[in-house]
Symmetry: C2
């Protein structure tokens, strides 16, 4: 055994990022599924500051924050590189990863649960337009192949469409975001993605129940 | 010439992080002082998404976001390491840098301009207590020597005391945060810090004028 455990939630995009990174490196791991309503002592002790998943335990030592964990995996294990090798390309990848986490995800979440209020969608349109523009000459954020930023963008590639279906709030259309939609199509057709996402129907059921409870 | 330009503001902690990192590496650079009320075309073109300083231009290619820039400098130039070498230590350093940027700086800023409202200080007390605890067995965040996290923490080490003096809102005391205060004393006595901070009196004057304008 590699001595690697992941405290995570299989339906979480943040947790899936880590599973994906571990698979790229060929690292065997044990997923310890957390109940977020009743967090384990191991989770609370391993991430006492944020008390959040995912937590990677490597020989018992915890690493937290999904972007930090991915970089750790890239540096601590042999195997194909996740981040680019060139310092400038690495900086660009880190910039986009941060942009997705800090700007895109909060804006997308707000828009998707906006009950169609246009003003709640404005920021999402703005940041998705920036992503769309970045993808205009590229198949993936990483170029011809999936890379660090594509892994980080898994919520946009996979989850957004499911929440759209559950809430009926449509955000990403090919009229407004043609390049982002092309990227999403490529993404969802890619074996690496298919192997690293939760069951669509399971997630859809979860979000439909949530949407119903919130009056959608 | 090294082909390195920094679009920055000499009184900004974010900009000073970059100058410090460049000095550690022994990289010559040209500081282009920005007027944030009237941003240069070069800044707007180099950082079209955030339109913020600091921006590092290396042979004309822009790198933005201060943590991303520091990692870039560490990887692109020869010289002493800024981040630790060991992958686990690197992950821990990245965790603290993110914690400082995401949690400590917004909380500290809110508390310092709270006009003494205790409820506006609560979050700052909470996050500073976490930093205090982290420093209980260490001289610096980096151990015996200043490292990546200490550079990132420059606002806490240098700016906080100045804003406290300007506003009269005292946040960091040795009764509540003994280890953080010891760290600050060591920090301010360190030559590397002295060489990489703006003039205290200049900053104090700036914040005093601001405090006066805001009715402190």
């Amino acid at each position: 055994m590699s001595g690697v455990k992941l405290l995570g939630v299989s339906g979480s995009p943040f947790s899936r990022r880590i599973e994906w990174a571990l698979k790229i490196k060929g690292v065997e791991y044990e997923l310890i599924e957390e109940d977020l309503q009743n967090k384990s002592t191991l989770l609370l002790e391993s991430n006492p500051i944020h008390k959040k998943i995912p937590v990677l335990l490597h020989n018992g030592k915890p690493v937290v924050e999904s972007l930090v964990i991915i970089e750790y995996i890239d540096e601590a294990f042999e195997g194909p590189s996740i981040l680019p090798k060139d310092p400038y390309d690495r900086a660009i990848a880190r910039f986009w990863a941060k942009f997705i986490d800090d700007k895109c995800l909060p804006a997308a979440w707000k828009a998707l649960w906006s009950k169609g209020e246009e003003k709640d969608k404005e920021e999402a349109y703005e940041v998705f337009k920036i992503l769309d523009n970045e993808l205009k000459d590229k198949k993936f954020f990483g170029g011809d192949n999936i890379g660090f930023v594509d892994i980080v963008a898994n919520f946009i590639g996979f989850w957004v469409g499911i929440v759209e279906e559950a809430t009926g709030v449509v955000l990403v259309t090919s009229e407004i975001f043609p390049h982002l939609c092309e990227w999403r199509d490529e993404y969802l057709n890619c074996n690496q993605v298919k192997e690293n996402m939760p069951h669509r129907e399971m997630l859809l059921g979860y979000f439909k129940a949530r949407a119903e409870a919130e009056g959608y």
